[in-house]
């Protein structure tokens, strides 16, 4: 049986179409994916992402312990700062991608993918040394308020001075009368916006207050469908699609999150070094656009002379661009910006062009 977030009744009241995601019954859309997607780009939208997992890491040695557990630099974070990082296994594959918030000197909140929550906790319990670990996934709700008007909507509801919270920073404060919230300028859409972490039992109060404050600004509740198309337009990876336990960070072009020279090292560092040096991993993640309206969905083979050489990991019609776009793992030789790929879309060869960088940029 599917689990529900504390906001399930609110979603039903908004007319949500539900889908099972990572064991949770979640809204895939309310009014429609395209309208919701475009509303986040043009104004503001509110997502319930309470299914995400939260691992709390505390103790005098927490920063050093996290440095050894994940790939990015954690001890270098200031209090009030956050960082995107990978957690790798001993083979250099990716256990999960996560965001770590430094709440205090010796207190960190690691936000992980819902589908990986149990795996991550087990991995961290086995490999985190010198810090206390608590799975707080059931204690927190998470609302993502995203879009150019996010700050306008949130400011009157909180005692946090939002102007003082920069990108990938956060502050503790009260939101809609609910104390003990983490207000973070983070997100998964490519727009300005906030992720608000609050106590689970205050989820409905937070949701109702933000919905009411956002109504005059055109706020819509946004489902996981648009969350996926928004992240894909800005080329953020999604675990289980672009990332998995076998694929190494350099294949996903995420070496910017991997600090191989960290003093003390980290789990997977030797394997990543060895895999890069050997050149054995030929597949690289690339972005592509398709001329025409066909969509190459996940699993679509990339073919050369009819033989599969790679595969699409995510594909959609990008609502902001009105173009068919996607991501694929292809042999290095095909990962050439401007080069063409042949995709086997259910038996029909479809031409795609390799492109660099995000498909959509906020300031474009």
């Amino acid at each position: 049986m599917s689990r529900r977030t504390p906001l399930h009744d609110r979603h039903a009241a908004h007319g949500a179409r539900f889908v099972d995601f990572a064991g949770f019954e979640m809204p895939v859309w309310y009014t429609g994916l395209v309208e919701e997607h475009l509303r986040v780009r043009s104004a503001v939208g509110l997502f319930d992402v309470s299914h995400m997992g939260e691992l709390r890491v505390r103790g005098a040695g927490a920063a050093a312990a996290l440095d050894r557990l994940v790939t990015n630099d954690i001890s270098g974070l200031a209090v009030g700062q956050a960082r995107y990082t990978l957690m790798c296994n001993h083979e250099g594959g990716v256990v999960d991608d996560l965001v770590i918030y430094r709440l205090a000197d010796d207190d960190f909140l690691a936000v992980v993918n819902a589908a990986n929550r149990d795996k991550d906790r087990a991995w961290a319990e086995a490999h985190l040394e010198g810090a206390d670990l608590v799975d707080e996934g059931d204690l927190w709700c998470q609302l993502a308020l995203q879009g150019p008007l996010a700050a306008t909507v949130l400011a009157p509801l909180t005692d946090v001075a939002l102007d003082g919270v920069g990108t990938y920073h956060h502050a503790l404060g009260t939101v809609a009368g609910v104390p003990g919230c983490v207000v973070a300028r983070t997100g998964y859409t490519g727009e300005d916006g906030f992720e608000i972490y609050g106590p689970s039992d205050a989820a409905e109060a937070l949701w109702d207050a933000v919905v009411a404050a956002g109504a005059p600004h055109g706020l819509l509740p946004i489902g996981l469908g648009a969350r996926d198309t928004l992240r894909l337009e800005v080329r953020y990876p999604l675990y289980g699609h672009e990332l998995d336990d076998h694929t190494a960070p350099h294949q996903a072009k995420l070496m910017w999150t991997v600090k191989l020279d960290k003093p003390g090292g980290f789990v997977g560092a030797e394997a990543i070094r060895a895999r890069r040096a050997s050149g054995a991993d030929d597949l690289r993640l690339c972005g592509f656009v398709i001329d025409g309206k066909r969509i190459a969905r996940e699993g679509t083979p990339v073919v050369v002379d009819g033989a599969p050489v790679g595969r699409v990991t995510s594909g959609t019609r990008a609502p902001s661009l009105d173009r068919s776009v996607g991501l694929a793992y292809v042999p290095k030789a095909l990962d050439v910006v401007g080069g063409s790929l042949t995709l086997d879309v259910r038996g029909t060869p479809v031409q795609a062009t390799v492109v660099k960088g995000p498909f959509y940029r906020r300031d474009a």
């Binding site: 895939v28 395209v34 309208e35 309206k293 066909r294 969509i295 969905r297 019609r317 259910r346």
Partner: protein, 127 residues
């Protein structure tokens, strides 16, 4: 859920209308468009293409899924809804009207009698 009394329905959520000139018109039901979500692409056959009963003759892409459209009767394509190229949302907003897809000259329309009527289709989608 809108289920017009005048149409016939397949188990794959297509609707069929038999017109007086002996042609049949095919589209997808309100239930189908609602389940698919925003339609972004409709791949229609060419006029003159022929199809056997049960063959896929068109393909619909939504933002989340792909669906093939099957014809319940054999026939030759005499007209397709060109308006859908660029206005795919008509399938969502008016699935039985401006969202129609293909008109066939059917070799034999007797198979239509075996399809579901509105009452039976309602039972199916509510089942």
């Amino acid at each position: 859920m809108n289920i017009p009394e005048t149409l016939r329905y397949t188990d794959h959520d297509e609707w069929i209308r038999a017109d007086d000139d002996g042609t049949v018109v095919i589209g997808i039901t309100d239930f189908a468009q609602d389940a698919l979500g925003d339609i972004v692409f409709v791949d229609l056959p060419a006029v003159g293409d022929t199809f056997a009963a049960g063959e896929a003759l068109a393909e619909v892409e939504s933002t989340k899924a792909t669906a093939e459209i099957y014809t319940p009767v054999a026939g030759e394509v005499v007209e397709v809804n060109g308006e859908l190229d660029g206005s795919e949302e008509l399938v969502n907003s008016d699935p039985y009207g401006q969202g129609w897809m293909v008109r066939l000259r059917a070799a034999d329309t007797s198979a239509l009698a075996a399809l579901k009527d509105a009452a039976a289709y309602r039972v199916k989608i509510q089942g």
